[in-house]
Symmetry: C2
Subunit: 381 residues, 2 copies
């Protein structure tokens, strides 16, 4: 190229962040693949044409280590200049895995953010301690349920929310299938359910939060978030697989709004469905929701109707709690296929900093929903 | 449940749209899985508790057919009431695959939108015919290149854009690694590159479009889109894997903005990386970008440095062009690992309604970039 060489126009900080990729193949194949990632995730340009200069020395991804994992699996740790990210989560995702997601046998296993990255992204506003304080529950696991099914008239959803709140549930969320459908429009539903929960709180002295599903159109999400707050909602649920992670981050980081955000896993499953490709459970359901500002992350519990293993679930917990100062640790929120009997086992697996998400199972142990909630809460205590 | 039964509060239209899923297992296992999808994607609630009423009769997903594909693979076509979607793309994605993405052996193969869905979503503003008219290229394949690599100073990117435009390229896009980094800030880069292309157009009489990468933070995307238009950009590129599909749709459907949108595949690869799970190439790179308003969809060409097969690529073309009235057909834009020699073969594979995306290869056939562009353009003609 006959331009001005390959120096960049500003001094670079030399600070780098790291991504651990798991690669499949022989050692030689893994080495080749790792070198390709260094180019694909940065300059995406024939490297032999960039013979010298800052771009080669700093902008290229740099293979820091290549170690065997087991069998034909290798861990390549690649570092990137923090300047490649700018200040944006969209571009952070792009550098981590944008084009390489399109190649086989590459799996993002772990993110090792550098300090500048952790300082750029605010992370959760509340985190574990903040949410405990808000709910006035210092130690035990939290208890969340969902109003459903999709299609139920608003007056019934409202009634469900009221009964659950009377039963001492800490958080009541919309099922993630409740959007802005004509049979339970967002605004009518949110106002009436939020008020029902506040009414129950006034009777019980409780601090139950109603959490509407805010996985909606980008052009409506800010207005709908403020509407929810104004009507008394206590937190917001967003599925970043539907809205994009950065849209969730925008809502989480809105200081005037200031509400906790719960991350829902809808559509994110495809990232973890192939063991040799995609991203790890730890990254998708732990590290990414956390850096994108979620205070709790919902995911399918092991042994339920989904296919996550106990080690998948424990790796998510690691992603939610490993040191990422100043970004706070967040709650794990396993759900799906719960039963009364599994409570002790789950506390043993996850520890006390978890939120039980108990949906359909709450309807199955008796005819009185408020009583059922109390039974579950007693068991959790 | 002792509430008001399971009727919904409004009359339902009875119109349904369909999703074809490919499932793995024995016929019995596929049947069970299909029945689970009907519940998981809608009410996500114990179906035995919903014994009667509209919710059971209409809101439940309905298995329309289950047919063998080959070996242990089955195609289940499931229909959903259009009311489950509301009017939102986020919720459409959720009904199609939200929770079921978290289960193994389910792959979304094909979407069969009903007329109401096609009427709700505007789709591409330009499509194939509109983009051809804008560029004044009625018949031949289009020719797009990218300015890169990441890290190059703005003055060099500007110079590249100018030389490419002089060479008769139809469209010049930012490499998708160019975001808002300190070494080539979005606004400075976009203004200068847009002006460079307009200057070349004035000299050649051409209609080359400069296409900035708008895969940015949600809270900045509208402002950055308008900035680009104001400074002379001719289209916008968005990676919905980074921003969310609905954010791309918001930009595409903005009438005041009125610019073509090019869809980039960054981070979408994980949806297609497992053959038994995720979504098909046709859906991810064809049907979804199209319904979300993209006028062209970039994807890795077969035989390049990515792993898409020729049949994967042809299925994408099907998704971009199959009848979806009134939603227009859109351009296929295969890229990655191109070479001069492959042009005739690619036209034979894709037909003339395609956009050649030629990046690094353009630098390899000679020292004069403008001349290189002319050579490629001659070959395409």
């Amino acid at each position: 190229m006959s331009l001005n060489g390959f120096d960049v126009s500003i001094p670079l900080s030399k600070e780098r962040f790291k991504v651990a990729y798991h690669l499949r193949g022989t050692k030689e194949e893994a080495q080749t693949l790792a070198n390709e990632i260094c180019i694909e995730q940065t300059i995406e340009f024939p490297p032999d044409l960039v013979t010298k200069g800052d771009i080669r020395d700093h902008i290229f991804g740099r293979l820091e280590s290549l170690e065997p994992v087991c069998g034909d699996s290798w861990e390549a740790v690649i570092s990137y200049a923090i300047e490649t990210v700018g200040m944006e989560l969209t571009q952070l995702l792009n550098v981590i895995f944008g084009n390489s997601s399109l190649k086989p046998w590459i799996r993002v296993e772990r993110l090792e953010f550098s300090q500048s990255i952790l300082n750029i992204f605010k992370g959760p506003r509340f985190g574990i301690q903040g949410l405990r304080k808000l709910l006035d529950v210092p130690r035990r696991p939290l208890f969340c349920t969902a109003i459903k099914p999709m299609g139920l008239p608003v007056k019934d959803l409202e009634e469900l929310a009221y009964r659950f709140a009377l039963g001492g549930v800490d958080m009541i969320k919309d099922d993630h299938g409740l959007a802005d459908q004509p049979f339970h429009p967002y605004k009518e539903r949110v106002e009436r359910c939020a008020q029902a929960v506040l009414k129950a709180n006034a009777q019980t002295g409780g601090k139950c939060l109603y959490i509407p599903n805010l996985s909606c159109s980008t052009d409506q999400i800010v207005e709908k978030a403020y509407f929810a707050k104004e009507k008394g909602a206590g937190a917001l649920m967003i599925a970043p697989g539907l809205t994009g992670f950065d849209t969730m981050k925008m809502i989480a980081e809105d200081d005037k709004l200031g509400l906790p955000v719960i991350c829902h896993p809808a559509l994110l499953g495809s990232f973890v469905s192939s063991h040799g490709s995609g991203m790890s459970h730890r990254v998708v359901f732990g590290q990414l929701p956390r850096i994108a500002g979620a205070d709790a992350t919902i995911y399918p519990n092991y042994g339920g109707r989904f296919s996550f293993s106990i080690s998948d679930c424990k790796s998510i917990v690691l992603g939610t709690t490993e040191p990422m100062n100043p970004i706070k640790p967040i709650f794990s929120m396993p759900g799906g296929g719960m039963s009364f009997e599994r409570i002790p086992e789950m506390i043993e697996t996850y520890g006390k900093d978890m939120i039980f998400l108990i949906g359909g199972a709450l309807h199955k142990i008796g005819p009185d929903l408020t009583e059922n909630c109390k039974k579950y809460l007693d068991a959790i205590r």
